[in-house]
């Protein structure tokens, strides 16, 4: 811990808000903490709600982006990363230390609904308890799990018991509540409409949904542990591909690359940034195509036309990406400080292939609009179902097309610029519908915007001077950021804000590596969207959230 911010790029603006923040938090701040791009304030565990409430109501920090929990030798620490939906680059971190003997901290759930799941995860993996939390139980690991795996005294070889009680017949007597005449229904974890291994516990009154409780953790692959075991330079980069595996690999890699490059002060060559931007937008198209195809499959059982059409287009994108990166899905193409290699030779062929795809895209999008979005059945299923009001979306920390479909104008590519986006001409798509239909339209239009970005990148790459095609910065073989330096950095992935928190402990491996997954926050809003609606709308809402369980569970 230290006092004050030592280095700031634009000192003036930060100073103003910082002085205001200091005045606002006042005596409640025990100390200051240094974070790379956010002023950090250390507060008492019993003042979390009052500090966060003031920051939300009076300073406008209405986006609780992430909650990181970690264990030090002498204490536990919860860090609340706050942002503004209006200005994503304005960040503040609230650090809440608790003792090792009695790790109890006040819950932030009454201020931000999204803290509910984030704090459950902190309890599950690290072992911090939150007072006033409405429902503090394990979220990723089975309820019978013994120990907290990211705490330092966890024994990984200890046997564990996992129960299978939910698999009893859902229509059996014990599930039928005679008084209220409701029925309990399991959806998943093996169910075609859950897009993977999600388990949704629902309580039905007739066909109406009374209660929805998403049960996650069926794909909790210890991604944070894996990243904490790898070295910064090369061993971490393959893992981001596997968080959001719907071909969003490059977008995820960028999240890690951005965090470590800012932490270790690495300047990425502009040429590499253009390649990154192009690759990332290709990934976004592939991801949105799958979202559309599976959504059509969900809402009207369309396995023959739309689903196959979208997969046809994904194949084209994947071919382009394979030429660029060498793999169809798990690209591992980004390097710390650039990309692995230049565009494939002969370049003309690559440009031609990519341009062919872009030329055909408008006709394909028009075809999708003909077949999907203007389809009457589709509209009946989607318009005014799964309504997510903007205030609710903000309260749950929703980002990406889910937030933009509710009219929340928040896109990190524009609001917290990185890569080459600020030099390109494109628009952020927002929709005011707040329903399933708006989210689908939002994705469709984002595909067109992505195509615009790729087109401009191709123009740039074609005319880039031959002697300036540097794809990687000069990065030391071993990266060892200063001990104790902390950073939270996010990029706009296909599903929303994908953030990485890294704390360095002075070695070549991260002391703490925390992933802020957009799907995790988006999925949390599912009960708000579906309770009181019919059960088919649950399937549609789940589809329009476009979750990937690899990223929800990590």
């Amino acid at each position: 811990m230290s006092t004050g911010l030592e280095e700031t790029s634009d000192a003036e603006t930060v100073d103003v808000t910082e002085a205001e923040l200091e005045a606002l938090i006042g005596d409640r701040a025990l100390a200051r903490d240094e974070h790379e791009n956010a002023p950090g304030f250390v507060v008492n565990p019993d003042e979390v709600q009052s500090v966060l409430g003031d920051l939300k109501d009076e300073a406008g920090y209405d986006h609780l982006s992430c909650v990181t929990a970690q264990q030090y030798e002498d204490r536990y620490e919860s860090i609340y990363h706050l942002k503004k939906y209006d200005d994503a680059s304005d960040e503040v971190s609230i650090v809440v230390p608790t003792t090792r003997d009695d790790p109890v901290s006040e819950s932030a759930e009454p201020v931000f609904r999204t803290a509910d799941w984030h704090e459950r995860e902190a309890y599950d993996l690290v072992g911090i308890e939150y007072a006033d939390h409405p429902d503090l139980r394990r979220i990723l690991l089975p309820e019978t799990w013994q120990g907290h795996p990211l705490s330092d005294d966890y024994d990984q070889d200890k046997p564990q018991l996992v129960t299978l009680a939910e698999h009893e017949n859902p229509l059996a007597d014990d599930h039928h509540d005679a008084e209220s005449d409701t029925m309990f229904l399991n959806v998943g974890p093996h169910h075609p409409a859950t897009h993977g291994v999600l388990h949704v516990k629902t309580v039905l009154d007739g066909e109406t949904i009374v209660d929805v409780d998403p049960d996650i953790g069926y794909l909790h692959r210890c991604e944070e542990q894996m990243c904490q075991q790898g070295t910064y330079r090369h061993q971490i980069m393959p893992y981001p591909d596997r968080w959001d595996y719907v071909s969003s690999g490059l977008l995820n890699e960028w999240a890690y690359a951005r965090a470590i490059e800012d932490l270790a002060d690495i300047e990425v060559p502009e040429y590499a940034q253009v390649i990154r931007t192009m690759g990332a937008e290709l990934c976004r198209i592939a991801s949105h195509m799958l979202a559309l195809g599976t959504f059509a499959l969900d809402v009207y059982g369309e396995f023959t036309a739309i689903f196959q059409y979208t997969f046809r287009d994904r194949e084209v994108v994947q071919d382009i990406l394979e030429d660029l990166t060498g793999q169809r899905m798990m690209f591992n193409y980004f390097r710390v400080g650039g990309v692995a290699w230049d565009l494939p030779e002969p370049r003309e062929e690559f440009f031609e292939q990519t341009r062919d795809f872009l030329d055909e895209l408008p006709a394909k999008v028009a075809e999708y609009n003909d077949m999907v979005t203007s389809n009457e059945i589709f509209q009946t299923r989607c318009i005014d179902t799964g309504v997510l009001e903007p205030d609710v979306a903000k309260d749950y920390g929703c980002t990406g097309p889910v937030a933009r479909g509710s009219g929340v104008d928040y896109d990190l590519r524009r609001d917290d610029p990185y890569g080459y986006y600020e030099h390109l001409d494109w628009d952020v798509v927002t929709r005011d519908g707040c329903d399933n239909y708006a989210r689908v339209l939002c994705r469709m239009e984002e595909v067109e915007e992505s195509a615009k970005i790729i087109e401009q990148c191709l123009d740039l790459l074609e005319e880039w001077p031959e002697d300036d095609r540097e794809v990687q910065a000069n990065v030391p073989r071993t990266l060892k950021p200063d001990a104790g330096s902390e950073i939270y950095r996010a990029v706009e992935a296909a599903k929303g804000e994908l953030g990485i928190y890294i704390r360095s402990d002075g070695t070549d491996k991260p002391g703490r590596f925390k992933i802020r997954s957009p799907c995790f926050s988006n999925l949390q809003a599912l009960p708000e969207m579906t309770e009181g609606e019919y059960i088919p709308d649950l399937v549609a809402s789940l589809g329009s959230l476009d979750i990937v369980l690899g990223e929800v569970d990590r």
């Binding site: 795996p149 698999h167 794909l219 210890c222 994947q318």
Partner: protein, 239 residues
């Protein structure tokens, strides 16, 4: 082959000549009248329209050529699995293309992804629900050994710890071509009548009350009903 006979001469048996035999047809519908029903198969069978085979061999042939896959998406590999079902790769060409949503209608289960502790008992249950004979294709490194996540505290070190697997397709993820190759290999095995290997499965579902008493069981005794099924993971014994 009767080399002195002309090639066009009708033959009486399936051996000796490859020329079409029309005797059966001619006697039924008159000579040279209508060859609309004259299939290659009938030509090949000639006057004796029977194949002599063993019934089990016939069943194996049928089984191998009509496999109903279970629609079972777990992780990254399931995206490549969907691509294998979709156009361009189209595994339906090999008679294995229709994904069934219910395990009770499926013959083959492709396990496409990492198995974690919470999902292990569920996968076991889904496998148990499939009718015999059933076959499993393990797709990707995670189903072989846990793959890149092998050191994770929550990751089962390969699907074979829990269910028997017939074909392993390595890769992270395997390309659709690789998965098709694996499916074809499985078809070949089924057609040859090779059944699922019997393996020792360390992780089995048991009733909680049947578990031997130890520290962990005693600790959880209040939380878990005696009749509940449980899976006990002995991580230290895993490979």
């Amino acid at each position: 082959m009767g080399s002195d006979e002309p090639e066009t001469q009708p033959r009486q048996a399936i051996h000796d000549s490859t020329a079409p035999s029309t005797d059966t047809r001619d006697s039924r519908i008159g000579e040279g009248v209508d060859d609309r029903f004259n299939s290659k198969l009938r030509e090949a069978f000639g006057a004796s329209p029977f194949i002599l085979t063993k019934f089990d061999e016939f069943m194996n042939w049928v089984r191998g050529n009509s496999m109903f896959m279970l629609q079972f998406g777990i992780a990254c590999c399931s995206i490549e699995m969907i691509h294998t079902y979709a156009i361009k790769h189209d595994v339906d060409r090999y008679g294995a293309g229709v994904p069934r949503a219910s395990p009770r209608q499926a013959d083959v289960m492709i396990v496409p992804g990492t198995i974690v502790s919470k999902f292990g008992p569920r996968m076991k249950r889904v496998y148990d629900q499939m009718p015999e004979p059933k076959f499993v294709v393990g797709m990707g490194s995670c189903t072989i050994s846990g793959g890149p996540f092998q050191e994770g505290y929550n990751v089962v070190k390969g699907a074979e710890e829990i269910i028997p697997i017939d074909i392993h397709v390595p890769g992270c993820p395997p390309r659709p071509e690789a998965l098709i190759y694996g499916i074809l290999k499985l078809q070949e095995r089924i057609q040859n009548g090779e059944s699922s290997p019997v393996v020792v499965k360390p992780y089995e579902l048991e009733e909680f009350g049947d578990l031997p008493e130890d520290e962990l069981v005693q600790k959880l005794a209040d939380e878990i009903d005696e009749d509940d099924l449980v899976m006990r993971y002995n991580w230290a014994d895993s490979p």
